[in-house]
């Protein structure tokens, strides 16, 4: 299985990243040698250049490019920051160190490259992703939020000090954190035949306790709210590399629905990146229909919820039949329910009754 996948291995990927960064630096170097102000061209990330691609089932960037020149007095500072970010990414990758966005913001100061604020440094990292076509996780820059995975999957680490070491992801009942080490690990073997992604920590723990992984032969992924990019990439890999179908369980409200959607179709913010989406994943609940069918205890939709639903109605990602139906239904019943609402039927109801039905329904 190790070498059969379509994806390049972590090692190759690292080499790719370094090569790419070198090319980036080389281009600038050559321009300067010629006595020119260095400049770069990259796809524009402005909203007019973000399109939804039905074929890829995700957002992509259009053909518009954007030129950044150090000749421009207003550009030279972000330009320098970008080159620095490239340099910093190279140092991380080369030395196999990881870092966080916050860390990037502070590290810059050591190079007399201070950023105004966190959001400025974040956007420079996004620029670097756009220029190189790699995601920041490839540069070993991780977000703060962490999510977890539990189930019968054996992985092999590639991070320094752990190379060759294997771990079964069932070895810890709280799950294993989807951090830099897991993200870059190779998949060795699994007996599971599906992935169940869960929005909330409480339910994840309940599923582990109720041995859902055994009963349903599944890997359990905790998204912890909106799934971080590392987690989305991880789910993508489980689906692509291991061929496992993915089922997503969220709260029954527009926000939960959208958590599922971002795992499936990605976000506009990441239009410049690939391999973050899992178009074949299924949103298995909680649906608006479920609220009615299962007579779930519910809360009325707030104004913000309703506004959000109207926005989603216009979203190209919500074209599908299921999505249309459920959005309409939410607006219809004007109710929402949390995953925990099933507790009214007893602690195991959701696992014993609801889950099997829904898995069957959505498969």
């Amino acid at each position: 299985m190790k070498n059969s996948k379509a994806e390049i291995s972590a090692k190759e990927r690292r080499r790719e990243v370094l090569k790419n960064l070198r090319r980036f630096g080389g281009k600038l170097y050559k321009q300067m040698e010629k006595g020119e102000f260095p400049q770069i061209k990259m796809p524009s990330r402005s909203t007019e250049n973000i399109f939804y691609s039905p074929e890829l089932r995700q957002y992509i960037l259009g053909n518009k490019t954007q030129r950044r020149s150090s000749r421009n007095i207003r550009h030279i500072r972000p330009f320098t920051q970008l080159v620095w970010a490239g340099y910093f990414a190279r140092e991380l990758t080369k030395n196999r160190k990881t870092s966080t966005l916050r860390d990037v913001y502070y590290s810059a100061q050591a190079y007399d490259m201070s950023f105004k604020d966190q959001s400025e440094s974040n956007s420079i990292i996004t620029d670097l992703e756009t220029v190189t076509g790699f995601s920041r996780e490839d540069f070993k820059v991780f977000p703060e939020e962490r999510s977890a995975v539990f189930g019968d999957l054996t992985i092999e680490y590639t991070v320094p000090g752990y190379e060759g070491k294997q771990l079964n992801l069932m070895s810890h009942p709280d799950g294993v954190m989807i951090g830099p080490a897991l993200t870059s690990a190779e998949f060795v073997r699994t007996k599971a035949d599906k992935v169940i992604a869960i929005e909330k920590g409480g339910l994840f723990t309940r599923f582990v306790e109720e041995r859902v992984h055994r009963k349903f032969n599944a890997l359990l992924v905790l998204t912890a709210g909106q799934a971080p990019r590392a987690t989305r990439h991880f789910i993508h890999r489980l689906n692509k590399e291991l061929g496992l179908p993915v089922f997503i369980f969220t709260d029954g409200d527009p926000w939960g629905m959208h958590i599922a959607m971002v795992i499936i179709s990605g976000s506009a913010n990441a239009a410049h990146l690939r391999e973050l989406t899992t178009p074949d994943a299924k949103w298995s609940g909680v649906w608006a229909t479920d609220i009615v069918d299962y007579k779930l205890p519910s809360d009325p939709l707030t104004e913000v919820d309703i506004k959000r639903l109207h926005e989603l109605e216009k979203d190209p990602r919500y074209e599908g039949e299921l999505w249309r139906r459920e959005t309409k239904k939410f607006l219809n019943i004007k109710k929402k329910a949390e995953q925990e609402a099933f507790s009214r039927y007893g602690l195991t109801y959701i696992v014993d009754k609801y889950l099997p039905t829904k898995l069957k329904d959505t498969n």
Binding site: G35, F37, I73
Partner: protein, 694 residues
Amino acid sequence: MVTFEEISPADFFYRNRDIAGFTNPTRAIFSCIRELVENALDASDLSNIPPEIYIRLSRENAEEVQSELGVGVYKLRVMDNGSGIPARHVPSAFGQVLFGSKYKLKQARGTFGLGGTMAILYGQITTHKPVQVRSSTGTSKTYEYKLVIDIQRNRPLILDRKIHRNKDRWRGTIVEFSLEGDYFRAMPKILEYLKQTALVTPYADIEFVDPKGRLYVFTKATTKMPPPPKETLPHPYGVDVETIQRLVRVTEYRTMLDFMQRHFHRVGGGTAVNFLEFAGFVRSADPKKLKHEDIIRLSQTMKRFKKHFGDMNIEKLEGFTKTTRSRSMLDFMKTHFQKVDKNVVLRLLLAVGFLRTKDPRKLRPDEIVRLVRMMKRFNGFLPPDASCLSPLGEELLETGILKELKPEFIAVSQRKPSTYSGHPFIVETAIAYGGNIPKKDDILIYRFANRIPLLYDEASDVSVRVVRSMKWRRYKVALDMPIAILVHVCSTKVPYKTVGKEFIADRPEVKSEILNGIREVARQLQKFLTKREYVKKKTRSLTIFSKFLPKIAKFSTELARKRELPYITKILAGILEDYGESVVWHPYKKVGTNIIINAIVQTVQATEVPIESDYSSKDYIRIYVLSNIDQQDRIVHRSIKYEVETIQDTRFERQLVYRTAICKRVIENERSRLEWKPESPDTKQTFLVTNKQS
């Protein structure tokens, strides 16, 4: 019952000392210093020697007084090296109000014969002590007087008189008296007054020892003094009936023609005849009554004016006189010699004696009134000239401002002489920016009249009104910029509103000259500000580029895994090419090579460089260049030659990023002209550094 009494001028001013600036102890101590200092400066203008003035103010009976605050008794001593006063005039000069030597028609600080004496009078009434004066005109003796003013009789009372030998031929005057005042309240104004006096008298040394023993020194920046004013005659526009009456009483001239020419300013023969004819003060002969000899005389005289009359024969002339209907020769000439200029006619008729003017001594009172009225109405008088005035001049004005304010920029302007009501006046204006000028919410205005700083009643002054009325934004001026405007009005008769000489009234002629003068310098300031803003922008971008480009170079080199840094000086050169101006650079060591380089050229603040004597901050520039410019190299910018004085390099990892050099204007002498001639550049090379440095 109503009683009548007469009071003397001294008594009058004693009762009304407010109007002369002796309102309260604070103001009084200021006025005393001011009046004596001005007398001292006037005295040295007379002797035409740069003034040295020593002022000492000390506390009397200091032991008795515990606190230094509030009103106390002070002793004021002012010493000058001026003309001195002839011994016989000393008592009246200091002991009699309205006695003085400055009533003449020429510019001086003093005018009323009042100031110094009022100061002494004030001292006398507050301390009951006499004044001591010591003076010499440079003879073998000095005279010392102790006197008090007899206020009711306006007479000096001499208490003591001593004569000393004057071995050193010292010349000057020392005045010392006691007065009541409040120095610590008055201190800011006094110091400001001295500072502004030093500004407008840059050729004076002034020392001041205050009651605490602190010494303030204002040193002269030049020995040049403005040319002294000449005394002048009254201008016809400026006289009144009383003046004419006095003149006709004393004149020695027998005809109005001479009278006009000799007693009035800028009245020549032609103007006099024209005016007298206009005013109806000439009698013209009757052509009908001319005798044959008269006509012969006329035709002979006409030959002298051949150009105008051609050959005129007697028969023809005689024919005219027979047939003419004119009853006066003036009329006659007008009808029969239409083409001839009126001036010529007048001269001709005068020469022949067909025109006569009256004997001025026989003018009747109604004629005098008419004469004055016509003088005001006639518009053929030449304007008064300015030889009776002594403006500071643009050069001295600039010296004074540079000395006291050390501004970054300065523009001065002297307006052409002008007149109001027959009084000549000249307005001088200046504007200064930056340096020691404080940033306030408003433009600072320095007002001067006949070289006296005016410190009180600012709001009512015409200059202040003019400045307030201007639209400063048009000149790129924001009111909170460090800007000082200076207005100097000099005149034989400054239109003061009060005898305290504190502010100038709103005369339309004076006002418009002030306005135009300020506009002129304001336009220059505007040019400076615009240029400065532009250069600032340029330098800022150079700074930004030279901060970030090296970093891009460094990180790119790392990323590309190159061993050597790319050569970025070349790229920075592009910035200079875009923003810089070309200057001709002449390397000191390689004689005969001129190279054009690009540089950003900046002005230098007066505080940034040690300005050498004979130089001003305008003579220094800062340039940003990329060439290997060296000390003593010369550059030419806007056809002014500069020499490189100090250089500072901005380098990045062994690469030259750019050089900053402070250059000083070359004030050329014979020797350096031989050494170095700026020629048209023989090498056109934009940048010297185009290859890698090793």
